[in-house]
Symmetry: C2
Subunit: 267 residues, 2 copies
């Protein structure tokens, strides 16, 4: 059962892991620093509690503790209870979600672990926008994609903003880093995955007819530059979403959602 | 041909329409104020120039004028040219897109105008988030939806943030306000549209099999509350996107994209 500890002094060292969250140079959630993973709000904290991420402490107002009491019944961590003003001074801004949980980063999952039973996975190259990453995980969770693999030049999915935009699903949808790029795609090919590049190129095969594999890996690049030629060349097929003339490509997380949807649309 | 006028004094009254864009109480793009529509960046300005929105002036740096010179060849409006610092003082923040165009609001389109040749339309209830609205228009443009209709309690699609997030597609995808709600849906029924409520309810019909009409109108409500019962009751069928257990509903613009995609997936 979580122990409730009242915090009255914003300078209290026990809440240092929650301090100055939006101050870029002191933020505890950046890789290379403490590397902490931060969950914000009741729903995301609940998802963290159900995940492989084990919180070391929570900071929140009394009302949020009441909402989380059941979830915290078997969890042996301190709940630092503070009023909203003290919390705002610690965190550095007014947090209207009213509760935070902080967890150390667990060991990374291995590629073979995340692929073991996967049927549909996304493989990302150059996705360096935390909001797009967060949306990608939310869409993967909602539409039944099983894992996300990181190729090259992607942002940190455990960054606070990505966790929040994903609604906590970065804590649930397994992800792993490919050891090399694009050669690491061979791990997928060896696992029987059909490797599909998603591209706005009108000469590509229609997405709906391209995805014929039992197991499918969808390669997605950043909006604008798209996938590199090296990555494209390592795939089995190039697929397009039917787009209207004179429009841009879709947002990358939305494009991924179309492909995930295509895999489950009749289920 | 646009006339280039150099602005050296940030207080120059000729650029008042571009002043203090992020200061909530002085912002010129709010309804009830000047009601101006603002396009930011070369691509969105180009879309405005191709749209029914007729800019009355542009403000930008010299380099952006060069990029737009061809588009502005037949446009008789002033291009207020300023260096980035002067521009930042006028606008109230540093605008890294480097160019703005401002247009008065044209007369609203009528429902019958936007429906005339439409095959797929979205009808929105309670969508009051500008970012979601912008994404909705971007997805509609990309995936060939023909129009957006506003039911009840939606935010202003011509708000600056919505224009930006839509990448200018609010200026291209026609939209209109239904005169009454939900009775106004009868205008769609009279036009032969199949009226479909999108809902996370697992008891609803699968989206892929629900959309049987030649003409389809998709009703979408806000994330969280969803559609009101009154709106639901006025539809022909309730449809669901297949979702994984234990996840939230999708973002409303993403959910709309699935439905738009379903309409064009084999094209």
């Amino acid at each position: 059962m979580a122990e409730v500890i009242d915090i009255e002094d914003p300078a209290d060292g026990r809440v240092d892991d929650f301090r100055d969250l939006s101050s870029a140079d002191r933020r505890p959630d950046l890789p290379g620093r403490k590397g902490l993973v931060i969950a914000e709000g009741v729903v995301v904290v609940q998802r963290m509690l159900e995940s492989r991420f084990r919180p070391s402490a929570l900071l929140g107002v009394g009302k949020r503790y009441e909402q989380l009491a059941e979830d915290l019944a078997d969890v042996d961590v301190p709940y630092y209870r503070a009023d909203p003003e003290v919390m705002a001074e610690v965190v550095g801004f007014h947090l209207n979600r009213g509760v935070l949980a902080v967890a150390p980063r667990p060991e990374s999952l291995r590629v073979d672990e995340v692929l073991a039973t996967a049927r549909t996975v996304a493989v990302l190259e150059g996705i360096n926008d935390h909001e797009n990453l967060g949306s990608m995980f939310r869409n993967a969770a909602g539409l039944g994609a099983d894992a996300i693999l990181f190729g090259d030049r992607c942002a940190d999915p455990l960054y606070r903003r990505a966790v929040r935009v994903s609604m906590g699903h970065v804590l649930r949808v397994p992800f792993a880093q490919l050891p090399t790029w694009p050669d690491g795609l061979e791990l997928l090919r060896a696992g029987g995955f059909q490797i599909i590049a998603l591209t706005p190129n009108p000469a590509a095969v229609n997405l709906a007819t391209a995805m014929t594999g039992q197991r499918v890996a969808l390669l997605l690049g950043a909006e604008g530059p798209g996938l590199t030629e090296e990555a494209m060349a390592a795939t089995d097929i190039r697929a397009r979403i039917p787009m209207s003339p004179g429009t841009d490509s879709l947002n990358v997380a939305t494009a991924a959602a179309m492909a995930f949807y295509e895999r489950v649309r009749l289920s």
